[in-house]
Symmetry: C5
Subunit: 374 residues, 5 copies
């Protein structure tokens, strides 16, 4: 379920024209928001204006140089085409925006940078399985132009809300800086959502580690397989995300000011930390499989040993009982089982049995097969 | 069966002259098609003209600058040589076209680019095994010149049909652009055929994952081995295909216009996505082997445990029965098995047995060997 | 517990403004020290002056050109901001100083170099577990300016004490050289703390190796898992630490004099040695798992073999006893168990049993299943 | 047996002077051949002239510009030195020619290129083991000068015969081109000998794959180990051979004409194909080990299961028989085993046994332990 | 024992001044030798002059331009400092010379090149274990100046003796060439000592391979673990040694003449060959573990099978004996065990037993569990 980004995403048919916009099933209808800002923006002048079609995009307020236009919901190909036309986007960019199975990447175009991010989401598996959650990712596309930032979200991402708040409330200098800094802030917010997620994985691994002795091996392997798969998904996103930030850093695009580079370097550091965490998690889970299998094998060995010891002790005893159950006829010959007629024959036989049982127990104990757990 | 591209392909004999054209066994006789196009091409002027030999290649219609010549069936060395002569192809290129075991690659020559692609095909294994299919690949060779595109197919590939349709019906701008864009369209169409194929593998893996608990380990290992092999084949094609696109992107060949680079970058992205999917599939199958083996071991352990428990319980009981089956003679001595003459001796013995059996069962249950599944 | 650097560190909330200083829980209140030095410093003129706030930073004594300002305890955001303002540090730098979960790195700013190191610490696991220790790391941040070195420690690191002593006692030329050389001395001191630590791991591995035959497999796997995890932590620190030194070496920063490069090369060598040791430890532990599992399997096999041999020998004997315990009536027919009436029937039966037991023992011995340990 | 190239090769003693020629044991006495060719060579003028010492090297026929001098048999240090002197070869080159354990490589000298190739040979293991063959490699050294090609063979290689034929019979343009093209032809011929060899390995692996279910695990592991070893040998040759061709391609040596580059690129492609095949073979054999072990484990499990089931069924039956074999005296008490005196007591007991046996069989069948193969 | 180079080496204390000379425990007292040579050196003029302190270093004989000063024994820090002062060596170089745990490396200083090599040594493990040897390495440090070569040995290395002989006896041109060529000769001599060593490992592996079927798995794993560890040590030396030679080759140091480059390339080839051998050994040992474990598992299976078969055959027989040992009273009912009174009842019972035993044997044989070894 959801092993790959691409699953259950509809692609343009094979051999389709490049730039064909293929709307995903269940994609939402678009809704639009616009915020304007700029170095001369006065206090309280920032607003979050919703509008219903790109033709009705409000014009920039005076003294506001830059705008952030956000489109949430990619379910209307026509609307996307209109946005593309308005901002002069390349058809391939529009195709990538609509087909929400892209890997994180950055592409330079003449009048904007196109950036694809992936936002991790924990979704409840089904309505019934209230407790269980499954890891998926959603796509967030950005176009960074000279005086605008365009964002395309599949659904309203909670991760972007704090950035919007900072802009609205004019905290910090975000509202006075350019589109590149806004893009950085969005990128940083997305990367930050990975940390609590990964910490949950770390916790799950550490819990697992603490219990590994008690865990049923088979169920444990399934749990680890699940963990590995989700870590694999994360790695497949975080790795190109890091490369993408590094490419942004090294690019000499006109859309990224020199002063923003420091901040991108910070993003790169965070991405590298994330990758580190994912890799550490992966190596640890791999090592846990060894423990789990050794533990399973150990338990089985213990079972076999106890049971076999019991069997082994009783087998010679049964043999002795069998011997004295033979019907050789003492009347025919004095040599035929004279023990049967001894006064203490029965006790002798029982004694013999206990001696043998005791001897075997002592021998097993000396060999370390019983008593000590090993 | 078809583990490698090269199997069952006939190569030129060792030490043969370079450029020797070695026709593959079962290769088809060639048939030729030509389509012309160009920036000035008027509506409805595009035609798909079949012809029977390269000498009869129709001339370009007026206002059509470019032509796409397609050769399907590589079974005639003489005909290939004629095509090579007509388009001034290097003997090594002709050798590579005829020996359909090449890896994806691009080579620059003075007056054309030579590109080799591989098209994945699922073929029925044999006539009887109607259901089962086996993955093979066929070679598609392209020569991209200043004003022509030459394609050489082993068999008519379904993947190219949509491109031909787009050209014929003059959809999009394909018919107005140059040979490089046509080559891109063909390349894109070939890469797109990998997606549904890989999605079938993803589905097979997810099905397998869902059933892994019920699967017979031995059969499961064979299934995974099969999957791994086919994924290995795909990886061995997709990897050099991606490198080839990357080389095209970086090359400064005169045969690739600047404007086509954007589209090739898109191809590169798709190739990278494919590689990602293949690698994820491979890692997941590897992890499945662990589950499978743990599951097999678990089942065996369960069998052994149940059986051994039964044996262990009855062994002490049999010993008691054996003891009271001994023939010590109570008449010779009052100490010889007086229990035999007790009024409730038999019941005492049976009770003893049930107590022992019950005690063992209780002990096993407390140790967790019975009752809970673990 | 402490699997990752980042665990239990508080990060700025997701979407927080860059440069937000987030104080770690349990972080200490800051205390400040200053030492001044320089090429003209006279004997005995170096002092270690404590002060209580950055505003009270003592001025440089005459003839002293450089100062080393140390802040221990990062528990006061306001104080950190004051230090940042005084030395003109970038907000991102302050954020990284306070959030003590950074990987080792070097960043160039206009008027200083920012270096993050990690110091390994063995902490007692809990108050009770007096003997056991757990590996953690603490962060040490350096800012190297034209005429100052700033250090930020979470707690007073013992590793830095010798450097302070060398400076105070004016041993060597440390007190006459610049901030870059002091930074090198601190870096070298930190790297040197890894050697005894790694040697402890080497000793633990060698001890383990010597005992591997006697060790309980399950406990052994846990020990190795623990070792691997701590080595993984070390590797995740030493690897970027080496890269950081290499970056310092290759940087052409104005803050690192040419003459210090030789010394940094020495640091790089030591880091490479450390990495070598860690990798060798890791490969050796991996190989130890094989021995451990083979040893476990061997022990189990030995148990099973001994026990099964005993069972196997007695089973035919019990059968013979059973045969002669049958109640066929010799009185009804002379063919019914005439052996029972033989004079030496009983001895014959016992003899038969001993012959069979002896024969089996001889056969097992010849097959090498008993006698030799294999 | 022949695990490494270097085994059983005699090297110059440790600390020997560089350039010391150390003749291999069993090396043959040299014999010399010369062929001349060139752009002006007329039809039928090419001859293959044998001669007995380098002093008697025939002079070039008129209009022949280039010569190919071949030395087969490297058993005479003096003769090698003479050749070296005649062609002005560096002592290190002569040492490498005589010590036939070199890896494939290319080295540029002032007046020639020195190239080492390795030719794979399948040799019968011993005289008796007529069927079995073992893979070894022999060294082929080339010196490519401005107007000569020198080849040094350990034994006459069959792989070179077709090239000699093409030259003699003046097929193609080989006889009109320069030494670089001749060297390419020889290189190509050597690389071509790897293809049938690798195809044999592919066949062996596919045969093995088809039979893997029936194969004895232990023998199978040995077979795979053998395959892996030989594939390892091949990889250790093919890898540097590919690098060597790539180095030739990138070198700007005056001894390689621009026009030959196309042909070398073809060689490079072939080498890459070979490496691909070797790697695929290696990955497939690795995956086969898994199947083999799972198959072995499966067979053993089946054995254990059948046997244990039989034992488990009879154990309770034997207990019942034991119970009714007890000697409690019915005469002493009516409660002592009254069943013994029942009219149908015996049949009841037998019936009870069959019911228990049947019940157990049914239970085992329902649990899937008998009946189905799993 | 000796798992790492650094073990049991004393390092300067943590935080010590750079350039602190820390003498190793058990290091010998130094003794000095000097040899002079040069292009104008006449026959017989080379001498090996011992002296007792660097102050007494003999002056160069006339017409001798270069000198080789050798210091054996690094146990005297004062003496090392004196040598350092005389040849103007950097304190860090002296520290590295004394701390004999360096990895192979090359460092360029203004007036010399500093090279560290490691010489492999097989030392008897202890006095008692006469036969067993353990692999260690010793450090050899070289300083190559304009007109001198300085060597520092821990103990007199046998590997250098042939070079000394060649110089003394004026064999070859060694005595006429410069310090760089002498350094090459020493480097070559050290690299050559690895070959016989590695060939011993190859022999041990091949011996092991030949016996792998007979070897006790547990001991075998320990042997392989030992081999792997020693190969790991070799790899950790040979790898940086190769890189060091490559760095020498690529460096444009004034201390290495152009003409010596050819010889260094030869050294590089040898190092690459060594690495190849080590890697092949490592891969082969890894593959041997698989065989060993499969072999162990196979043997155990065989034991279990034989034993279980015996048990399984006798269990039904014992049951039959038990049945006819039941005491149902034939006198009470004609249906109670009438077989007991049959004339051939006993023989029938015995026959039944043999038929069952035979049937089981036949069934086991048909299933392939007995008879064939598998």
């Amino acid at each position: 379920m959801n092993l790959f980004i691409q699953r259950h995403r509809r692609r343009s048919g094979s051999g389709a024209m490049p730039g064909t916009i293929t709307v995903q099933p269940h994609a939402q209808a678009p809704c639009y928001h616009m915020m304007s800002f700029g170095p001369q923006a006065t206090k309280g002048s920032i607003e979050n204006i919703a509008f219903d079609a790109i033709e009705n995009l409000p014009s920039l307020p005076e003294q506001h140089e830059f705008m952030w236009v956000n489109v949430t919901g990619l379910g209307d190909a026509e609307a996307l085409r209109a946005v593309g036309k308005h901002f002069n986007l390349h058809p391939l960019v529009l195709e990538d925006i609509a087909n929400t199975a892209q890997r994180p990447k950055v592409e330079e175009y003449d009048n904007y940078l196109f950036v694809v991010l992936r936002v991790p989401v924990l979704q409840p598996l089904t309505e019934e399985d209230a407790g269980e959650e499954v890891l998926t990712t959603r796509q967030l596309a950005l176009c960074i132009g000279q005086n605008f930032v365009l964002t395309f979200q599949e659904e309203e991402e909670a991760a972007l809300a704090p950035v919007r708040q900072r802009l609205l409330q004019q905290k910090g200098k975000l509202y006075q800086r350019g589109p590149d800094y806004l893009a950085y802030a969005l990128l940083d917010a997305v990367i930050d959502t990975f940390f609590p997620l990964l910490e949950r994985y770390v916790e799950r691994i550490e819990e697992f580690e603490a219990q590994v002795m008690e865990i049923d091996a088979h169920g444990g392997i399934k749990t680890i397989h699940g963990l590995k798969r989700e870590l694999l998904i994360l790695r497949r996103i975080i790795w190109p995300q890091r490369d993408m930030v590094s490419q942004l850093l090294r690019s000499e695009s006109a859309f990224i000011n020199e002063s923003t580079h420091l901040y991108l370097r910070d993003c790169y550091d965070h991405s590298a930390q994330l990758l580190d965490m994912v890799e550490t998690c992966r190596e640890t889970t791999t090592s846990l499989v060894d423990i789990l299998l050794a533990s399973q094998s150990n338990k089985m060995n213990e079972v076999m040993k106890v049971l076999t010891i019991i069997a082994t002790i009783f087998i010679p005893l049964s043999w002795i009982a069998g011997v004295y159950g033979m019907n050789f006829d003492p009347e025919q010959s004095p040599w035929n089982m004279p023990e049967l007629a001894w006064e203490y024959g029965y006790f002798t036989a029982l004694l013999l049995m206990f001696v043998i049982a005791g001897g075997l127990l002592w021998w097993f104990w000396r060999k370390g097969w019983i008593g000590s757990r090993e």
